[in-house]
Amino acid sequence: MATRRQFIRISAMGAGAVMAGAAGFRLLGSEFTDGQKATAAVLATRTPTYCEVCFWKCAGWVWKDDEGNIKKITGNKEDQHSNGRFCPRGTGGPGMYYDEDRLKVPLIRVEERGKQVFREASWEEALDHIAGKMKEIIEKNGPESLALLNHGSGGKYFTDLMKSLGSENYAQPSFAQCRGPRDVGFSATFGENPGSPENTDIRDTRCLVLIGSHIGENMHNGQVQEMSDAIDKGATIITVDPRFSTAAGKSKYWLPIKPATDIALLLAWIHEIIYNDYYDKKYVEKYCYGFDELKEHVRNFTPEWAYGITTINPVVIRETAREMADASPAVIVHPGRHVTWYGDDTQRTRAVAILNALLGSWGRRGGFYRQEGKTVPSYPHPEYPKPQKSWREWYPGKYNLADLGVANVIIDASIPAPEKDAMIKGWLVSGTNLPLTVPNTAHTIEAMQNLDLLVVVDTMPMEITGWADVVLPECTYLERYDSLRDSPHRKPALALRVPAVEPKYDSKPAYWIARELAQRLGKGEYFHFEKPEELLDWQLKQMGSSLDEMQKAGVKTWDREVDDLYFGEGEDIAFWTNTGKIELYSTALENEGFSPLPVYTPHPEPPEGFYRLIYGRAPMHTFSRTSNNPNLFDLMDENTLWVNPRVAREWGLTAGQYIHLKNQDGIETDFPIKVRITERIRWDSVYMVHGFGHADKKLTRTYGRGANDTKLITSVMMDPVMGGTGMRGNFVTFITDLERKEVTS
């Protein structure tokens, strides 16, 4: 009986009776003769939060039973990020709290780095130890030799700590390993970037073009919801992807492009739109700079030219260009989010931005709206000391257009170079599992081995915690206050996170950890309030609200100051670019010595017997951080390798078979991955969901499940504009003889 359930399902194929702490099943009283009494009717209390399972930060409610156990989390209807509907990860948020593998007490390393031998310590001892080491580093090399690598809400407080010490070496992999090229490409064009959540007006669009962006598998909540609205309204979806993604299944056109050739397709679309007079003439004339140069630049980039490169039929290129023009200006060529692919990513996202500008979609209904947000005041504090140097000096003159820290440069600057000593001597790592995040793991490990201090703050044991000198257990978002969520949106709004429960084990919130360290380092004046809620109340009162009001509502939304969600008819607009116009021709890139107009460059192709490694997201997981969450593990407990049937035949692979992978540099997977034979992938590529193949045994559920794509990404194609790490230039082959592989670590 169980077989059919198991056979057909793509979700909830949990391992039978694996019970986790989350269950807490209550015996049902006999008065409930339906036998159906469940939580909703008995849940007494709710507290507001915004979700921390991903960066979308949806606001919602945490529901507890009368014994104070967290039972479920639902969306807050007033919230523009979620509209009252959480995604599977947010709904599975209780698993982050209940996961019995969580970090429980501070740990101090007792053997050499990476051997994972620690002793338990008190907070007092751990913090004194860290502060002592940090002081030593500051005295010897200056505060500029400390760096912070972070992701998520806690990072804000550690950034404040770095600033107070006099270091501006802070970076989030979400920039140079993810959306950075897009932000820089759009800023170079429009003078601003799409932000997070992106300012895409998907709900009112008539044509949505997705280039490698797999909405629905990336569960960017508001966008998934709006794509569904757009489907209801009959919008045309055009998906460009070597894989038949979920979004491709909802599309009128699927363009199964040869990987690494997207710029050629974009240039052909630009050519079609210009030379057929499809572009928005009034808009281009009024707002854009460099049209004539662009027109000349794309003169020869015909659909026939692109066909030879992309394998996309010229008829389809023409038809899809026409579809975009027909929908203009209610058309979105989506900026994407994870765009660090081939090293020319800023130029590719520039081409995307140019296409949007020609179609007149920026600032228009159904295209891109203008965001508005609240500015949360900072509590007055002494001026931050001015750093004498920063990560930017490691590669003088390079990556000047990176407007945020570049994590991989901080890593590079931690390794002594032939002519100079390492600039960075100590890392604080908060909420980011670098070995499964930043490509070229061996390089990251080399950097860590060179450090004088490595402190890791996290809720879970992760590969990164194994390398730490000191591990600090942070409590989850369900157990702490954090700063107000102030992301701009259609209307300005704030969302509040309050603790639903006391911190489990001996875990502590980031604010407390940062403040304790600051006090030990003589920087207490930068963390005025003992408790974060006192700061929140002060901030909210400055903005005409209060902690009390926000605790009841969770979210507060204001009307826009002026009604300017879209550009007014003929409105004069100054864009934040050098020319004050939308720069089709980028003066910023030209000034830095880069091509002011996007150019197609061929990229390496897989050698014989190898396949391009493409990776992506699953809707129920966020990177490598959720794979051990009991609720989400239950929905998806390993990744699979998508292989085209032709390739499978050639290699004699069978569905469900476990194999190992080896990349072009001879790097092999630690654990085998299950083969999924499917027509949904091109024959020159294979695909897996990112974030599996954990090698840390402390993650008892997810350890050894599936393959770690990051380990196979050893060839990095650097984006010369902003330092992004292009990760799609890696090729893998199959090892079918599992006997040959010993499972390690």
Partner: protein
Amino acid sequence: MRYAMAVDTKKCVGCSDCVVACQTENDVPIGYCRDWVVETMDGTYPQLEVELRSERCNHCANSPCVRCCPTGASHFAEGGIVLVTHNKCIGCGACIASCPYDARYPHPKGYVDKCTFCHHRVKEGMKPACVAVCPTKCMYFGDLEDPNSDVSVILKKRKSKTLIPEAGTQPQLYFLI
């Protein structure tokens, strides 16, 4: 009154939010589920079609599970919702064998469990947890006898199918195609 649900396969992205929302709403132990997501694919590269749909108990009007239950634990509640009275259930599994949709599972506590259309919520005028949470809003629930209910309106507007209609169970879970 006749409760029914419709799932729009054109909008479902197969994210499994319905599964985890049901688990947390109904205290379904980890490792078990009352609803699940199915993916089917037709065609060969590059002419492909994928259908994604969220499945659960079909709350059949002609339910073999209710008919075969020896204790009367499986029964019809208001609006045709098929329920199992846990403390009447002896866990014999006859219903599990009789269900063409494999919608029932043996709960570790000894009784048989399945989707209730979130009867406890519906009674309070709320939507089932899966319907309320779905980010694509692809699920519609309501009373088929009320022409203005969400489910009646959408079924009038769109083409739909049921699963395994040949089993003759008169399923009340519709899929918009």
